[in-house]
């Protein structure tokens, strides 16, 4: 079953066209990765889906419901979470307050606490740092917090924008393990990465974006073998 369907979207920043007709789909239970080099349009694609940027043409469906150009505070209410590039932790809010913001739309205290325990189970370090200001955490901790904060929404679809950016290899390893684990627990993943090899090796399918266009797509394992990809992204 298709959980996310993107039809030929074009997105502009002022007069600059960033997306030139992107079509993609993500099926329930999959890990799909979107790879590409700097400025290819990966983040713009995620922003267009979650509603941070408006698309000029094209349409986006989530769980069969049209969400084209719905604002972000609405798309995130129906089970979609977007962990932005650069983590975007609320720097002067504590770890706990950051997590609470993830559950902003939840009013039941018991549900919030339950989810917070679930996040602490996944990232025990966050529990130890619960009263620390988000901005004073290390890069790896901030990434865990960003993912934890998104999980507070209990999403069905988790979109991650370069979660490995700027992290030590061992932390990257850990983050990818968590992504795989979340997927096994039933969360569909749309993963944007420049770290193509690692992304493709955990993904069921991948799309390659270049200059705002999808230039290749296929099974993760096939794309790893692909010569063009090897040359462009895995060298």
């Amino acid at each position: 079953m298709t959980i996310l369907q993107i039809n030929n979207i074009e997105t502009y920043y002022g007069g600059i066209q960033a997306l030139r007709g992107i079509s993609m789909d993500v099926k329930k239970g999959e890990i799909v990765t979107l790879i590409g080099s700097n400025g290819a349009g990966k983040s713009t694609t995620l922003k267009s889906i979650s509603g941070l940027e408006k698309v000029k043409t094209g349409s986006i469906f989530y769980k069969e419901q049209e969400i084209t150009n719905k604002p972000a505070h609405q798309t995130t209410l129906i089970g979609m979470a977007h962990v932005p590039e650069g983590r975007k932790i609320f720097a002067t809010l504590t770890v706990k307050e950051n997590l609470l913001m993830g559950a902003f739309s939840v009013s039941k205290k018991s549900v919030i606490e339950e989810r917070m325990e679930m996040v602490f189970g996944l990232f025990p370090i966050l529990k130890k740092r619960i009263d620390q200001k988000g901005g004073t955490m290390s890069g790896g901790e901030q990434q865990m917090l960003a993912i934890g904060r998104a999980l507070m929404m209990k999403p069905d679809l988790l979109m991650l924008d370069e979660p490995s950016m700027g992290l030590a290899p061992i932390i990257v390893e850990q983050i990818f393990d968590i992504i795989r684990q979340l997927n096994q627990e039933g969360i569909t993943i749309l993963l944007v990465e420049q770290n193509a090899y690692q992304a493709l090796s955990i993904a069921h399918r991948g799309y390659v974006i270049q200059n705002g266009e999808i230039v290749l797509s296929g099974k993760g394992t096939d794309l790893i073998e692909n010569d063009e990809i090897r040359e462009a992204y895995l060298a």
């Binding site: 979650s50 509603g51 941070l52 604002p71 972000a72 505070h73 609405q74 995130t76 209410l77 979470a81 977007h82 932005p84 975007k88 932790i89 609320f90 720097a91 002067t92 809010l93 307050e97 609470l100 913001m101 993830g102 902003f104 739309s105 901005g135 904060r149 929404m153």
Partner: protein
């Protein structure tokens, strides 16, 4: 000279705290809006002034009722405060909606000019209505809480003079403190308060948390303007006579208090307000003493502003502000 300053100190503190509390609560409105929009809402002083007029009008209306004498004055005051705060809150929200929101993406200078324009409009509208209904735009409300209280400090220590104040002083101070403590609690401890801080830090990311950014901005304006309007009522109670231009200079000072404490910082605004009020009263009492009669009490603002300039030279981010470079 020092001894003389000590002598007047109790009175200076009493007057300074009252004035400072007024500055502090008004400063909150500036700092909250600045924190969330980086906009200096110059119309905020006029919201305060409008609050003073609405409150005074309500007092005059209520005091004309025969049954009102059966009700304790403090209850009447609370009713007037709540009604006025709601009205000015809605007004602030409305101003943001029609005047600032369409300019959200415009260069900073544009909404600033708009804010100044709104100030003039409010001044003139209030002046017009006041003149129309009472024939004069300088309005004096009913005297409330006028018992004179004298603290016999001279019998405690001969270093001090006696200090005296109207009972309204206590009312103004206590209500201002209640407003500040409640706001501090709201901002720091409640879900909507945290969300407001999140929006101030990063609007896009806040919206990814399902927070409706526009609603949070409206809420910020509502709260800031409600506080401003309520303080206008307190001002009217304390000082009795008001005119449509009280918002200008008081707003300016409250804005300075906000800068002094660190603009965008809630506790900074409170601290800056109290500090400015006390400094101003201290200057009023002692300036001619310090300068051997060259400068009189009417130069008190020079003294307060000199301190402001000194603070800004050595700590441009304000007394409680964080250094700008710390941004992660």
């Amino acid at each position: 000279m020092f001894l003389e300053m000590i002598q007047t100190l109790p009175q200076v503190l009493i007057d300074g705290l009252t004035l400072g509390a007024v500055y502090a609560v008004v400063a909150l409105g500036y700092t909250m809006v600045y924190g969330i929009l980086q906009l200096i809402n110059f119309a905020h002083g006029e919201i305060f002034m409008t609050g003073a007029f609405i409150g005074t009008a309500l007092f005059i209306f209520l005091m004309g009722m025969s049954w009102i004498t059966a009700i304790p004055q403090i209850l009447v005051l609370i009713v007037v405060l709540v009604v006025t705060a709601s009205l000015t809150g809605l007004m602030g929200m409305g101003i943001e909606r029609v005047a600032y929101r369409p300019l959200r993406k415009a260069p900073r200078l544009i909404p600033l000019i708009t804010a100044i324009g709104i100030s003039f409009i409010l001044q003139d509208v209030v002046r017009f209505i006041a003149e129309l209904s009472s024939g004069n735009y300088i309005v004096t409300g009913p005297s409330l809480f006028t018992e004179q209280i004298t603290l016999k400090l001279s019998s405690v220590s001969s270093n001090f003079n006696d200090a005296s104040f109207k009972s309204s002083f206590i009312i103004v101070l206590v209500i201002a403190i209640i407003l500040m403590v409640s706001l501090d609690y709201f901002i720091n401890k409640t879900k909507y308060g945290i969300a407001m801080r999140a929006v101030a830090l990063d609007r896009d990311t806040a919206s990814l948390m399902s927070i409706n950014v526009n609603k949070m901005i409206s809420l910020t304006f509502f709260i800031g303007s409600a506080l401003g309007g309520a303080t206008g009522v307190l001002f009217a109670v304390q000082y009795g006579t008001i005119d449509p231009f009280i918002g200008f200079i008081l707003g300016m000072k409250a804005f300075i208090a906000a800068v002094l404490g660190g603009i965008g910082n809630i506790r900074g605004a409170m601290f800056g307000g109290i500090l400015l009020g006390v400094l101003e009263m201290f200057a009023a009492a002692n300036l001619s003493l310090i300068t051997a009669g060259i400068l009189g009490a009417e130069y008190k603002d020079v003294f307060a502003f000199a301190i402001l300039i000194l603070v800004l030279i050595f700590k441009p981010e304000g007394l409680l502000g964080r250094p700008v470079a710390e941004k992660v």
